[in-house]
């Protein structure tokens, strides 16, 4: 395959596809020829053998039909039946003629076939020659009473049987031969088919092998240099410019490899210049390969700009240094403030939580107040009723007091009367006492007179003594009565006093009862107004309860918000600390910029992504 190296890729492809196309043409031609052969076999079977078998079989059937009709003719008793049978025989004979003509067109040019067909012809002709005689005999049978005609006809049919059997056998032999011929043609067809399969398989195998060979060779010739250049290009894309292209080929791949080598060299040059700039040599310069070499031109412009930027950078670095310092201090301050804010927010959250719980307690207290207000309202209602009862009771008391006052007055009157009567009794008693005194004195005088009378006055002295004793007893009795009267007097006086005091007490009791009634009425009014106030309180407590629910809900929301605020403050704190770290890093970066000799460009580039990541975290 060495000659392939000197061909262009288009030529290689054309050669390969041409070889494959030629092989396919060969396969097509062979296939066509084989199919033609098979078609012939099929045609022979379908047009000749099958037709021969059909026609000979039909003829055999037709001859049998004619014989059956003839036998029926003999047996028939009437002329119309016979006429009908004769017409049938004539029709079947026409079919035999048609089948014979068809067979003669397709029959093989074969001796045995022809001999058999001639045998059939001659035998069938001799059989049919007998028929007119038999028919005439048969026609006689309806009118023939002797039966001779029938017998003659039957004899004729028996005699002609030999010729019929011969013709029929010849036809069967023909059928068998044609079947054999058809089998032979089928076997021929199968043989041709197998041959064709073998030949075509071999050719196709050869063509596939050849095609694989050519395709492998061509693809190898194209893919190898392209793969090598691809590897080099990948390494170039990774930044490795120290590459050498080693492709020895005269086709387009070779040319591409050469151009690729030039490109590698060009990139090496640009890379070296960039490396020099990276090392701080800003005087690097590239020679443009052509006027359209925008990379080199741009690179030179860029180097020029860099030189200018480097000058400006020293000024900016100072400012950045100051800026980063300011940022660092500001972020520190922010961090402190945010920490303070976070702690404040946490305190606030705690306070809000506490307030929320207090509001909950307050709400519970409000509910309790509402319940108590309802209870108090009920109590006030019953108190109003009690007040009414009390007023009624006071009225009753007043009536009772009035009653008592009347009674007491009556008692006082009675006592006064009693006192007067006692007085009268006292007067009477005084009179009795005086009488007793006088009686006593009289008795004493009588005693004196008796004593003066001496012995004669002794009996009188006894009487005088008795009188004196009686007077003494009267006096003692009057004294007792007087003392009793005195006690009665005292008692009546005390009763009068007591009744007066009782009257006064009743009057003051009535005044007090009226006052009490007034007080109870006022108390009832107050309780009624208090009950109304309590109902208002109850309504207010319910409203307050609703309000407290709203406050509780609001406090919960505030609590939630504060917690979110605390979370946010924490996040802000972490963000601020991130910012602080970032400021530190920025400061170290600017320090590195100030002293570029201490750090390399690579480290600066690597240090950037983490800062960005932290920035991303803070948002």
């Amino acid at each position: 395959m060495g000659f392939l190296k000197n061909l262009k890729i288009a030529q290689k492809l054309t050669l390969g596809f041409g070889v494959v196309l030629a092989l396919m043409i060969v396969i097509g031609a062979v296939s066509y020829l084989q199919l033609e052969e098979m078609n012939k076999c099929l045609l022979r079977i379908s047009t000749r053998n099958i037709n021969n078998i059909r026609t000979t079989s039909d003829i055999d059937t037709n001859t049998s039909d004619i014989r059956v009709a003839q036998l029926a003719h003999i047996l028939a008793d009437t002329d119309p039946e016979m006429d009908q049978l004769e017409r049938t025989i004539a029709d079947v004979l026409k079919q035999i003629d048609a089948n014979e003509k068809s067979y003669e067109q397709t029959m093989y040019d074969d001796k045995e076939d022809k001999a058999l067909y001639d045998t059939y012809k001659t035998k069938w002709k001799s059989y049919m020659d007998e028929w007119p005689k038999i028919r005439s005999e048969s026609r006689k049978t309806p009118t023939d009473t002797t039966g001779q005609a029938s017998k003659n006809a039957q004899k004729g049919m028996n005699d002609s049987r030999k010729a019929f059997d011969d013709a029929s056998n010849a036809l069967l032999d023909l059928v068998n031969r044609n079947v054999k011929n058809a089998d032979a043609a089928r076997l021929e067809g199968e043989r041709i088919h197998n041959n064709a399969l073998t030949v075509m398989g071999g050719i196709m195998l050869a063509a596939i092998l050849l095609a694989i060979l050519i395709a492998g060779s061509i693809s190898k010739g194209i893919a190898r240099p392209v793969g090598a250049m691809s590897r080099i290009a990948r390494k170039l894309s990774e930044g490795d410019v120290e590459q050498t292209v080693t492709v020895e080929s005269n086709d387009e791949a070779g040319e591409l490899a050469a151009s690729f080598q030039n490109l590698v060299g060009y990139i090496k040059g640009v890379s070296a210049a960039a490396g020099a700039i990276a090392q701080g040599d800003l005087n690097a310069h590239l020679n443009p390969k052509s006027e359209r070499d925008t990379l080199s031109l741009s690179f030179n412009t860029m180097a020029e700009r860099l030189r200018r930027v480097a000058k400006a950078e020293k000024d900016i670095q100072g400012r950045i240094q100051e800026g980063t310092g300011s940022i660092s201090s500001a972020t520190t301050q922010i961090l402190a403030t945010v920490s303070q804010q976070t702690s404040s927010a946490q305190e606030q959250a705690a306070a809000v939580t506490e307030t929320t719980s207090t509001v909950e307690e307050l709400r519970a207290t409000c509910e309790l107040t509402a319940r108590k207000a309802v209870e108090v309202s009920t109590i006030a209602q019953s108190a109003v009723q009690i007040g009414l009862d009390g007023a009624q009771a006071v009225d009753n008391i007043l009536k009772g007091m009035e009653n008592i006052r009347e009674k007491v007055e009556a008692i006082a009157q009675n006592i006064l009367t009693l006192s007067e009567q006692t007085q009268q009794i006292g007067e009477i008693t005084s009179a009795v006492n005086d009488i007793a005194d006088q009686s006593n004195i009289l008795s004493l005088n009588a005693t004196i007179e008796a004593a003066r009378a001496g012995e004669q006055g002794k009996g009188f002295a006894v009487v005088a003594e008795e009188v004196r004793n009686l007077a003494e007893q009267s006096k003692q009795s009057t004294a007792k009565v007087r003392s009793i009267l005195g006690e009665i007097q005292k008692a009546t006086n005390a009763a009068v006093m007591a009744s007066e005091q009782g009257t006064k007490g009743v009057e003051s009791g009535m005044v007090l009862a009226e006052k009490a009634g007034e007080v109870i009425r006022k108390l009832g009014d107050n309780i009624r107004s208090a009950s109304q106030a309590v109902q208002q309180i109850s309504a207010s407590a319910n409203q307050q309860n609703v309000g407290m629910d709203q406050i509780a809900g609001a406090m919960r929301e505030i609590d939630q918000s504060t917690k979110q605020f605390v979370d946010g403050a924490k996040e802000l704190e972490s963000a601020a600390s991130g910012l602080n770290r970032l400021a530190g890093q920025l400061k170290s970066m600017t320090d590195a910029f100030r002293n570029p000799s201490k750090t390399t460009v690579q480290t600066r580039v690597k240090s950037a992504p983490p800062a960005e990541a932290e920035l991303a975290e803070t948002h």
Binding site: L444, T447, I448, A451, R452
Partner: protein, 156 residues
Amino acid sequence: MPKQKTSAPGTSHELLILGVGEELFGVNIESVQEIQILKGLTPVPGTPKFWAGLINLRGRLVPALDLHSYLALPGINGASYSKIVVVTGAGLTVALFVHEVKGARRFAKEAIQPPVRNASRQGVEVITGITADLISVLDLNALLSDPRIAVGEDRP
């Protein structure tokens, strides 16, 4: 009226028991004329204190003697006297102021003991004895013979 003499020993005396204040006095019942309720006393000026006044006794003026004052007894004054006992002795008839008259009692001569010497200086002369139940026996003759009594009343 005849002069009464003290009873001889071995005989009995019938005494009228007079109550003056706390004290009980017994006088010979034969010296007593009558007993009356005190009324119609007319004080007489210029007489000793024990002379309470004059009493009109059925048309006859009788001087009233306040025994309590005369005997200078302690205790009550003579304002509440209710009765008078008209007695005679030594030719005089006087009304004695008493609170009450207890009646007449008979005493044996032995039952009357001599009076206590120290009892009362002024009364010693008129008290002649004392019974077991502390009744002072008053000698009306001695009493009415007292020179202090004589103040120029009418003499019977």
